[in-house]
Amino acid sequence: MPMTPTSNSSDREVVLEVKHLYKSFGDNHVLKDFNIDLYRGENLVVLGKSGSGKSVLIKCIIGLLHPEQGEIRVLGKNVIGLDKEQLDRMRTRVGFLFQSNALYDSMTVRENLEFPLRRHGRDKSHSEVNDLVMESLVNVGLPHAVDLMPSELSGGMRKRIALARTMILKPEIMLYDEPTTGLDPITSKEINDLILKVQEIYKTSSIIISHDMGCVKYTANRVALLVEGRCFAAGSYEDLQAHTDPAVKGFFQ
């Protein structure tokens, strides 16, 4: 029986709400009446099988995909009704860490980090930009990589740099698309630590898409299980671990 993810959290500030979201690709109905709330300061992990629509969900939230029906309110504004300019403004407050990192291959690490600043912080001086770049790199533990090209970085370093680039505008909400996929356990642990560090330093509210149970257990304040396009169950990691439904138990065994 699906649980309502907001049932016992009415006293907390909602920064992002998804209501009755439908998204399909041809005959493939990926999201069907999906509902979820994200509260200020929490890490919400959306858990689900591969191809269940987890990435589609956060791409709808950031406006890269357009749902057929439903409402996505980010910091009080409905994303679906926003024009390009409003959407760009909203995106400065929402960070997105891509599964593939999406670092710009033709740019150095510094240029990668400066790229969003050049777009949104045009009033900043050269030294301010440099300070922000270095601050971001220090926070991910890679200040020495500033002049390297993405091709010179390891998988874990690329992930950290991508996170630094995303955090440079100090977004209020973070969307992580499978942050530990393809990484070894030690690097995964480092990325999980960084996710918690970001939450602590920048006071971000985050949706983390994952099917890596280590990442789920380590980073989640709350877990939502996406099954057949719906939020099948939501609660703390322990709540879901104790769930008796086979669809939920399968993830925790």
Binding site: G63, R91, F98, S100, A102, Y104, D105, P116, R119
Partner: protein, 256 residues
């Protein structure tokens, strides 16, 4: 009546390229202007093709002169070789051959680069960082190819004529001043201008096709290869189609 599948696909592709081109014209005049990226692309496209274009042009001039010499000699018209080579290269062979070289080098490069950016979500990353990726990636590259291909063609024409000068001197002695004089005397305004104008269209076609193929490539590494490959094929075809149209228009205007 239902059209064959291949025809349907071709027509659909023509429609998509037309829409893509229309989008280019809609977007290019809107701020923000990506001036820095435009100059970077000009440098990348122009500078990196310079060597290839120079070698091609040089060989072109050299070979044309050597090959035409026996025929010209039969008519006792060896003195006309500089004029003949100059007209052939400047009017037709130079622009078309260099445009084909550019379609291979620049078109495939743009197709592969944008295709790989699509596959690795770099285009999405640009969009979520509040940048219009079409303006940043497509508009700058199309403008850069439109301006750089004519410059490369002019450069190649000069190198080609120098190659011809060296070939002329293999079997005789002609001073550079005399060779230049013969070339300049043989050329008229209607030889140079239409050939120059059509190179802008060649550059535009190479840019727009390369960008279209890369920007719309399907996901996966296979898509990147296909984007690069089909960018070359379609851009080369477009060069010939534009050349055909240019010749017809020049003919209609009485500039032949």
């Amino acid at each position: 009546m239902k059209l064959p599948l291949g025809t349907q696909r071709t027509l659909a592709e023509i429609g998509d390229i037309s829409r893509f081109t229309w989008r280019f014209f809609q977007e290019w005049g809107k701020p923000r202007f990506e001036v820095q990226e435009f100059f970077r692309q000009c440098y990348m496209i122009g500078n990196r093709s310079l060597g290839l274009v120079a070698i091609t042009g040089f060989i072109l001039g050299l070979v044309m002169t050597i090959q035409s010499r026996p025929t010209m000699a039969q008519f006792g018209a060896e003195d006309w070789i500089p004029a003949m080579v100059a007209i052939s290269i400047i009017r037709e062979i130079g622009p078309v051959v260099i445009a084909l070289i550019c379609a291979g080098k620049i078109g495939s490069g743009i197709g592969a680069e944008l295709g790989s950016m699509k596959v690795t979500e770099q285009i999405d990353a640009m969009e979520v960082s509040g940048t219009n990726p079409f303006k940043y990636l497509v508009v700058t590259r199309v403008w850069a190819t439109t301006l750089m291909v004519p410059i490369l063609v002019i450069f190649a024409d000069f190198i080609s004529l120098y190659g011809s000068y060296l070939a002329v001197n293999m079997r005789g002695v002609t001073s550079l001043a005399l060779f230049t004089q013969q070339v300049v005397d043989s050329l008229v305004f209607s030889d140079v201008l239409p050939a120059f104008i059509k190179t802008f269209f060649f550059g535009f076609a190479i840019g727009i096709i390369g960008c279209y193929k890369g920007y719309t490539s399907s996901k996966g590494t296979e898509g990147v290869g296909l984007a690069a490959n089909s960018a070359v094929v379609v851009a080369s075809l477009m060069v010939f189609i534009i050349d055909l149209l240019a010749v017809q228009i020049t003919d209609l205007l009485g500039l032949t």
